[in-house]
Point group: C2
Chain length 137, copies 2
DNA sequence: TTGATATCTTTCGAACTAGAACTATCACAG
DNA sequence: CTGTGATAGTTCTAGTTCGAAAGATATCAA
């Protein structure tokens, strides 16, 4: 079994796991009446940041972040404030309702994670391998 | 550092790695003048299978497999044959041009894989951890 | 055989995403 | 001070994806 075969195996497994994790986020989103992207955005909004920074944390394009922010703002979960030092940028700030929804999301995301079936040392090993990979890339 | 923190780390790392792998597929697709999904479909069509089996291998919905197959059939890379034993199903068969494109895709996918930076034993360890996870799910 | 239930494929509508174009603003070299 | 290029955010469009529903066929129990 050449290394190419392992390579392909790992690709498929990673994709499958990413899909499983997405499924978990989706279930949380359904429970909360939000879309998966909105839940991820809430998770990443741990502090006031710019739209571009949010896009980076969500690993998506800025235009998509705008789209998600529009929906969350419509729901009254956040506001776009002018940035204190850069008039091009805007500061994304969660409202009281937004903070509450974020707490709810974090709690639901923590429960029943698909990674729960791994022992603690396995989770650490997995994390270290993935970190080694992302460091090289 | 609670296990929750590791959990969140792993989620983000997996997502990031999946994104990196997608990027690799996208580069191959751009080179070949195809979409990423079409390249993945070609990779999985190692033998005549049904549309549903392809969807399973691609980890997507059957309706999406239909969409991708439509485009590949338009390009003359495959044909839908009636299934020999199940009249509901169809057998997806690559044409000569399809086989050629598949070989091209496999070659490009093998070159410069993002997993190349891991040693062989690390790749195996990663695969085993991921397999353990997908088995539980 | 007949009926109930499950499976395979496709179509359709809605939602999501990336990428390009555009405006406003910034940073900095001259 | 000024102009040149880079950056933040938004809008628009094209393409992709899912989910639900429909039509055809299969499977199995009565």
């Amino acid at each position: 079994m050449g290394s190419e075969e392992i390579d392909r195996d790992v690709c498929k497994l990673v994709h499958g796991l990413a899909r499983t994790l997405d499924g978990h986020v989706r279930r949380v989103a359904d429970t909360m009446g939000l879309t998966p992207s909105q839940v991820v955005a809430l998770r990443e909004l741990s502090e006031p940041i710019t739209a571009r920074e949010l896009a980076a944390r969500m690993a998506c394009e800025a235009s998509n972040a705008t789209f998600v922010l529009d929906r969350l703002e419509e729901r009254g979960l956040l506001k776009r404030h002018p940035h204190p030092t850069d008039r091009r940028a805007k500061q994304i700030v969660l409202t009281a309702a937004g903070l509450q929804r974020r707490e709810e999301a974090l709690k639901l995301l923590g429960d029943g994670s698909p990674l729960g079936s791994l022992r603690a040392d396995q989770q650490e090993a997995l994390r270290d391998l993935l970190k080694a990979l992302s460091a090289e890339a």
